[in-house]
């Protein structure tokens, strides 16, 4: 199986639920959570931390009032509108580029690192987990995703494990692009809605852009048979393998409330569908 990443474009389609099922069904793998904005994979897994640490993702400019002559050179060069008319630096707009530091004739501005999140390596009943969480209000989630992937690669090297089940972020931007580079396959989890289809097309565009083999799963497929059919027709036309459809099944939520994947509880239509999807993926892509 090597490394498989779950993406969706649209959020809330069931990436983490299916990634959790793959985590329960596959052997000898690492579990990696690249949705650092809203990491949820660990909620299935009751992890025991082995190591963890701060992540210093970006820097921020600070202006020293005492040495500032209020010439405004900093404000002129800032392209992120982070320096106001009063020359106060807005920490949420500051990208930490350092242009203002260079422009300041009085050396009154300094860039300082800021802690933007935490990473964690943990043991779980389903295998080792690498995860991270962005500190609320912090940025640079793409760089934190790259750190998580690097930690996973190092851990895999130490333990001799080369399979990874990776949960990705919604959207198609920075954290998704950081997670998609270098994986062996992407499973796009969608749902039968116009939004689901619209977002699937854009997510597939990103996956194709990076030349990664895509697969598609339609979750909650029975909520609209018609749109599920339209999605199936779309992926067939693009020659993307459809691994299967998962019916809406309240047991998925019921298992989640108990901190387990539905496939661990072993019953019901969603559980059966997820097992079949896993088998088809292994047949198509290797164990």
């Amino acid at each position: 199986m090597r490394s498989v990443l779950f993406l969706s474009g649209k959020g809330g389609t069931g990436k983490t639920s299916l990634a959790g099922a793959f985590a329960a069904l596959s052997h000898e793998k690492l579990l990696v959570d690249c949705d650092v904005d809203a990491a949820n994979l660990h909620l299935f897994l009751q992890p025991t931390a082995l190591s963890e640490g701060d992540y210093e993702g970006s820097k921020e400019a600070f202006r020293d009032e005492a040495s500032c002559t209020r010439c405004g050179a900093c404000r002129k060069v800032c392209r992120f509108h982070a320096i106001g008319e009063d020359l106060a630096i807005d920490s949420y707009l500051c990208e930490g580029c350092g242009a203002c530091v260079f422009a300041c004739p009085e050396d009154a501005i300094t860039l300082l690192p800021r802690v933007s999140g935490r990473w964690m390596i943990a043991d779980t009943r389903l295998g080792p987990l690498v995860t991270a969480e962005l500190t609320p209000g912090e940025e640079t989630s793409g760089k934190l995703v790259m750190l998580v992937k690097q930690k996973a690669e190092d851990l895999g090297g130490e333990r001799g494990i080369d399979r990874e089940v990776i949960d990705g972020a919604p959207g198609i931007g920075c954290p998704v692009i950081a997670s998609v580079t270098g994986v062996d396959a992407v499973i796009l989890v969608t749902e039968p809605s116009l939004s689901g289809l619209h977002d699937l097309k854009r997510a597939l565009g990103v996956v194709n852009h990076f030349g990664i083999p895509p697969f598609v799963v339609i979750n909650k497929a029975d909520l609209s048979e018609q749109l599920a059919g339209e999605i199936a027709a779309f992926v067939a036309e693009r020659d993307v393998p459809l691994l299967g459809k998962i019916p809406f099944d309240p047991r998925v939520t019921a298992s989640m409330l108990e901190g387990r994947s539905v496939v661990e509880d072993g019953e019901g239509p969603a559980c059966e569908a997820m097992r079949a999807i896993y088998r088809r993926f292994v047949e198509a892509f290797g164990a």
């Binding site: 904005d37 580029c97 692009i177 989640m256």
Partner: protein
Amino acid sequence: MRITVASGKGGTGKTTVAVNLALSQIDGHPVQLLDCDVEEPNAHIFLKPQIASRRPVEKLLPRVDPEKCTGCGACGAACEFGAIAALGGEVLVYDQLCHGCGLCRMVCPTGAIHEIPHRLGVVETGSARGLAFAQGVLEVGEAMATPIIHVLKEEIVGDGVTILDAPPGTGCPTIAAMHGSDVALLVTEPTPFGLHDLQAAVGVARVLGVPTAVVINRDGLGDDRVTRYCDEEAIPIVLRIPFDRGIAALYATGVPLVDAQPSWKDAFRALLDRVAEVVS
């Protein structure tokens, strides 16, 4: 009043709330809806807007003139993003990593760097059913959503109600959307994932100093942990939308809830009143 509809977790119903809130207020005061989920904008599916104008959003990328470059490496040493590097006398630019800050051009001692515009996406403005509408659309394959959101927010006009449909997550695009809002309307679902990501979204709003109110969607699906959390944190729950296959089917086919079930208009009008109380 500027209301950002956000969530942490994706797929909780942000767009449903934003669209129906906007459509419910239409005969009262002027309302503007901005779709700030530029990676996956979906409000247009429900509103079918007439787009009147489009403006491209660009960032500036450095390009190096090999005639003037001495390979000194000052650009690479200055760049905080690892987006430019002098290797063996040749300078490489990694476009995806570049934030377009212009520092490399400023520090180059021989003036060998100039900048070229690079398209990140587009901001589209128009109207839909009497609403002022605008959305940003990120180009597929581009990583940086925030510059588009900043340009999109320049479209905010007047003192009426502006509803910003934020992207999921808690990172830069969500912050860019929520920054400067009077209130964050956080849409969640009563599941462990919904609760966990709601807590993260509340964290973002608090750091930004934006008051919060919560909408629980798919109410009845999970358990009461979200309600207990909101009670403990004194965050008002301003609307509950029940878990209902009929509502899901309307969403699937792009039909606004208030069009199919007009009685919801009263609920969304009441929601706006409760949100206004949170602001004041």
